[in-house]
């Protein structure tokens, strides 16, 4: 093929040349060109190498169905791979490179695979390398794992950039009455009728220009007139936007390519915009695709669809070849043949059908087109770069007899047309095979969804327009608008019926004919799949990889299905078709994630003391969405030395910790007490005002849901704290109970997590610290403010606060809550006093050390799989009342004594440590799932060695004098451990009560 630019015509602007590079070589085109048209005009022919055999690949189409010319665009972090050259608009400075070839697509060493292709049939790699006999007979895939890397490298797509995506993407939402997909004759007509009826219409086109098949026509008047009317009617007209999927409730997924066609875009613009469009009615005028058919070497560069040659000629002003053989089996190719001939090519038209209509024949003669009925192409012969001649054959029943050779530089094919049923298939509509037009036709949907134009199997141009008007008038009527009804035209519309043609075979000859040129699936592969029993269309697809390439079977599926039907001796409907799923064309992952990247990936929660913590030396960590102080390093301290110092200080004098992230819920109303008594396992009915109680709540199924303290502030006024992790879940749960189950309870629950900031003041000197902070020191007396007491009082400087004497650390400790805005002031008040007592600030690491020493549970222990007994808190389940979970927690398996129970863990050799997540095994059986697991590990400053919490079958009593092994094969290996009570320091609690 030697394509060249013609002097006049086309939609390109010859006054605006564009320079770009192809595999490092300078090339030029014009504004309005695609990369494919510009390179075709430059005489280039080979643009890729096939997936498996590395056969040369050229341009096969002019659209999204492209299966040959697949390249990479851009460089570095903006490299975009597997781009169809036919859909990429040209821009100044564009860098295009070939893929899957070394050193280049024109000279590719991988092409050696082609000479071995008789061995590389479907399933070759799996058969050869998986479970490779005799080494791996019947077991495992170790060798496969080794070979796979090499195989994958040889069989490839483009290589993505390893750098982060520098572009940003947007998500957007839209609403309309009528969505029209596609702007060909039917789409334009549909949008006109709908807009004239006063409806809010969106017309969405994937191409840069509107018009669909009209862009391939030589005249432009119909297109421009329609577009100008639509614009006047206020239709939202979108281009470069693909409707990639249809979903429930009339939702269409749209991908708008905002800057992919620009050499330098405004950096404020997103690269792509991902639309969720809700339409009351959707009209699919998305057109149809022309099919190839298989013959010998039909994958050779220089073989393309007839419609593509027409598009290159009339839209891009490129004549794709000079000596053209056009092989067809239907009426759609005649006018293209005439146009190509008039543009200066010598054209031979082969019609597979035995007769050509007289009028058509006259037209062809008048245009100097040589034509032969009852003939087609049998085999293409390739020259240095592309096709150089074809062997043609004469119809002989269902087969062909080779007759003579015709020299040529381009083969244009038409094997019939396939309506684009992809989108309607997304809605569960199964297309039906229509033998008279030889294609899968869409059937009616029960949803407000109408097909129009060639997407509905209507071939005739005027009928397509009529079908657009008809679909829109139906939509308008269903949306309550006055409109004239238009009858939907019948499908089909050719003068002479199509002659189905999928593969050209000559008796006694073996040709290599391709069904899926991108994935190197040959006709023989389909027959092999049949012989080996992969006859279901879904198995055929997976065994041969037919239709699994980037074009998703747009080119080859129907040929493959037809060949399988032939092998099975049945009709095409009996084989069926695979299910089309979104997206219609590939979507970048960036567009799917939209703005939800980096800092916007998820919400960030900071406590009102965040800056105070930072100023005072905090290193922060993430706790769910929260930022919490992790540790406060002094000087050269590491995290380990810092947290050990902090925990030691908390046990020796006093330390402060920001505990604002705990969930806080106000529970108010006359039935608040009854409500709490139902949701907690322990009694709340008699909790006095001014007291707090630690509580456990279960789920309906009897497992532990969360724990926390609840303070009684007044007769009908409670303040509940939850764990940081479960704050939202507990809130939802309380609302659910009140709104869906216990309608009789008069209770309000309000989340006040944001309203209150909290700080834990822990250590033997905590009371002395607070004594200096409160306005009335009397409130701090042990007698009036004992362990689990609650007071509401005022701090110096007039800060109103509520304080509860509760302890997570095991020391005498208080939690002080103030309105959030007061919290920096609270810290400024507390901190100098704490410093004067040699106290410190502590973070979550020291918090963890303190609570592990005490055996206090947290989210790691309450993981949704443990019962209240498992957590060692069985005494908190009241036997005297019913509560949520009380019925199901008594199921026999939940009461078994050998269930994993909370235990303390310490290494036998105190110099050793172990990690959270390690599996606990008995000494004599270090394998499998073991007997338990470790949930938390810390170095205990108090004990001077490493300790942990975890669960083990039967609890620590069952492991008395029995060694366990903490197994951690990928990190630490095995460590001998002793299982002990989880209460590793001060088991009597004397420090808390003191």
């Amino acid at each position: 093929m030697s394509g060249h630019r013609i002097k006049n015509g086309g939609r390109i602007d010859r006054s605006k040349p564009i320079n770009f590079t192809w595999d490092g070589m300078p090339r030029s085109g014009y504004e309005g060109d695609s990369v494919a048209s510009a390179l075709m005009a430059s005489g280039d022919m080979v643009f890729g190498r096939s997936f498996k055999y590395h056969r040369p690949r050229g341009i096969m189409s002019a659209g999204v169905e492209e299966s040959g010319a697949i390249i990479s665009i851009g460089e570095g972090d903006r490299k975009d791979v597997n781009v169809k050259m036919t859909t990429q608009e040209l821009y100044q400075g564009l860098v295009a490179t070939g893929q899957n070839a070394w050193p280049s697509v024109r000279f590719d060493l991988g092409a050696i695979n082609n000479s071995m292709s008789r061995f590389l049939v479907a399933g070759f790699y799996y058969k050869t390398f998986m479970g490779l006999p005799p080494f791996e007979w019947g077991k495992g895939t170790w060798l496969w794992m080794q070979y796979e890397k090499i195989i994958r490298k040889a069989a490839g797509m483009g290589e993505s950039s390893r750098e982060a995506d520098p572009d940003h993407y947007e998500h957007a939402h839209g609403f309309c009455d009528v969505l029209v997909v596609g702007s060909g004759p039917a789409g334009l007509a549909a949008a006109q009728t709908a807009a004239r009826a006063g409806l809010n219409v969106w017309l969405v086109e994937q191409d840069a220009e509107h018009g669909g098949s009209l862009l391939a026509e030589s005249s432009d008047t119909e297109r421009t007139a329609a577009l100008s009317e639509l614009s006047d009617l206020g239709v939202t007209i979108m281009n470069r936007t693909t409707v990639f999927g249809l979903y429930d409730y009339g939702v269409a997924g749209l991908l708008e390519r905002v800057t992919d066609h620009l050499s330098s875009a405004d950096p404020r613009l997103p690269r792509q915009r991902f639309w969720t469009l809700r339409a009351k009615h959707t009209i699919l005028a998305c057109g149809s695709l022309e099919r190839h058919f298989a013959f010998g070497n039909n994958d050779c560069p220089g073989v393309m669809t007839t419609q593509a040659t027409r598009t290159y000629l009339n839209r891009y002003g490129v004549l794709a070849g000079e000596q053209i053989v056009l092989a067809t089996n239907n009426d759609s190719s005649y006018s293209t043949a005439c146009e190509l001939a008039r543009a200066g090519a010598s054209v031979t038209l082969l019609d597979a059908r035995n007769q050509i209509n007289k009028k058509v024949a006259q037209k062809l003669s008048a245009a100097n087109v040589d034509y032969r009925a009852g003939h087609t192409v049998v085999k293409a012969n390739s020259g240095a770069e592309g096709v150089s001649s074809v062997l043609i054959g004469k119809a002989n029943g269902s087969e062909w007899t080779a007759t003579d050779q015709l020299p040529c530089d381009l083969v244009a094919l038409s094997g019939g047309w396939s309506p684009l049923v992809n989108l309607i298939s997304h809605r569960g509509v199964k297309p039906v095979w229509d033998p008279s037009t030889a294609c899968f036709m869409p059937v009616d949907s029960s949803e407000p969804l109408t097909m129009a134009g060639s997407a509905a199997g209507i071939w005739n141009h005027d009928d397509c327009i009529k079908s657009g008007h008809s679909a829109a008038s139906m939509a308008a009527k269903s949306l309550g608008k006055e409109t004239t009804s238009v009858v939907m035209p019948a499908t089909g519309g050719w003068n002479s019926p199509i002659k189905p043609l999928y593969e050209v075979t000559v008796p006694g000859k073996q040709f290599k004919g391709f069904v899926d040129p991108q994935h190197d699936v040959t006709c023989e592969d389909i027959r092999l799949a049949h012989r080996e029993g992969f006859v279901s269309v879904e198995h055929l697809k997976r065994y041969t990889t037919l239709g699994m390439a980037t074009d998703q079977g747009k080119v080859g599926n129907i040929i493959g299905i037809a060949l399988m039907a032939e092998a099975l001796g049945c009709e095409i409907p009996a084989v069926g078709t695979t299910t089309f799923r979104p997206p219609y064309t590939p979507i970048s992952i960036g567009a799917l994630s939209g703005q939800s990247v980096g800092a916007h990936f998820r919400p960030l929660r900071r406590t009102p003391m965040h800056n105070w913590n930072l100023v005072n030396g905090a290193t922060m960590t993430e706790a769910g969405l929260w930022q919490r102080p992790w540790y406060f390093a002094r000087g050269v301290e590491t995290i380990s030395s810092a947290y050990i110092r902090e925990a030691t200080t908390a046990r020796k004098s006093v330390a402060l910790c920001d505990v604002t992230s705990l969930g806080k819920i106000a529970i108010q109303g006359p039935d608040a007490t009854e409500f709490l008594n139902r949701i907690y396992t322990n009694p709340f009915a008699k909790l006095p005002i001014g007291k707090a109680r630690y509580g456990i709540m279960l789920r309906d199924d009897g497992f532990v849901m969360d724990d926390g303290t609840t303070w009684r502030l007044g007769e009908s006024d409670y303040f509940m704290t939850t764990t940081t992790a479960h704050a939202a879940k507990v809130m939802v749960w309380l609302e659910e109970l009140l709104q869906t189950r216990w309608h009789d309870l008069k209770v309000h629950v309000t989340t006040v997590s944001e309203q209150w900031a909290g700080v834990a003041v822990a250590g033997p000197k905590s009371r002395d610290t607070l004594l200096e902070c409160v306005e009335d020191p009397g409130v701090m007396e042990n007698a009036v403010f004992p362990f689990m007491g609650v007071i509401e009082t005022t701090l110096k400087g007039g800060i109103p606060c509520r304080i509860a004497r509760i302890s997570f650390s095991g020391e005498m400790a208080y939690e002080v809550y103030v309105a959030s805005d007061f919290s920096p002031g609270l810290m400024d008040l507390l901190w100098p006093i704490v410093q004067s007592k040699d106290g410190c600030l502590y973070g979550t690491e020291a918090l963890g050390a303190l609570r592990i020493e005490k055996g206090h549970v947290t989210g790691a222990e309450l993981d949704g799989r443990v019962t209240i007994e498992d957590a060692g808190l069985g005494k908190m389940a009241s036997p005297n009342k019913s509560f949520i979970g009380s019925a199901l927690r008594n199921r026999p398996d939940m009461q078994r004594h050998d269930r994993p129970r909370l235990v303390g863990i310490k290494p036998v050799d105190h110099n050793f440590t172990f990690h959270a997540g390690a599996i606990l095994c008995s000494e004599d059986k270090v394998e499998g799932l073991g007997e338990g697991w470790i949930t938390g590990v810390t170095h205990s400053p108090e004990l001077g060695h490493w300790i942990g919490l975890g669960y083990i079958s039967g609890g620590h009593e069952a492991w008395y004098r029995k060694r366990a092994i903490a197994t951690d094969p990928v990190r630490k290996g095995n460590v001998e451990v002793e299982i002990i009570s989880p209460h590793m320091i001060d088991p009597s609690g004397s420090r808390m009560y003191g």
């Binding site: 939702v251 939802v732 709104q739 019913s882």
Partner: protein, 97 residues
């Protein structure tokens, strides 16, 4: 892609809502025998068709609602507040408008 017509806020995208569960379940009394609770908690129907289900407008008014939805087509037949007392509230709110 479902739209739910919240009785308190109006039509909203389902992403604003949290899914609860089967709204037809009558939870037994807290002191009911375990077998009643097993029935309510575990013996659930997997309905292909119209079912009653609870949703919460978590990112809106935080009210629980009962939605009648077809599990095959996602068609929603009715939406009402889960708490019967709110009907009065809604009616009164209407009076003030």
């Amino acid at each position: 892609m479902i739209r739910i017509n919240c009785p308190f806020c109006g039509e909203r995208d389902h992403s604003e809502f949290g899914y609860g569960g089967d709204a037809s379940i009558q939870y037994p009394a807290l002191d009911a025998p375990a077998k009643d609770w097993i029935e309510a908690v575990f013996q659930r129907e997997n309905i292909a068709g119209v079912q009653q289900e609870t949703w919460q407008h978590t990112s809106g008014c935080r009210m629980w609602i009962v939605v009648e939805r077809n599990t095959i087509t996602h068609e929603i037949h009715s939406v009402k507040p889960a708490h019967p007392g709110t009907k009065t509230l809604l009616a009164n709110a209407g009076d003030h408008q």
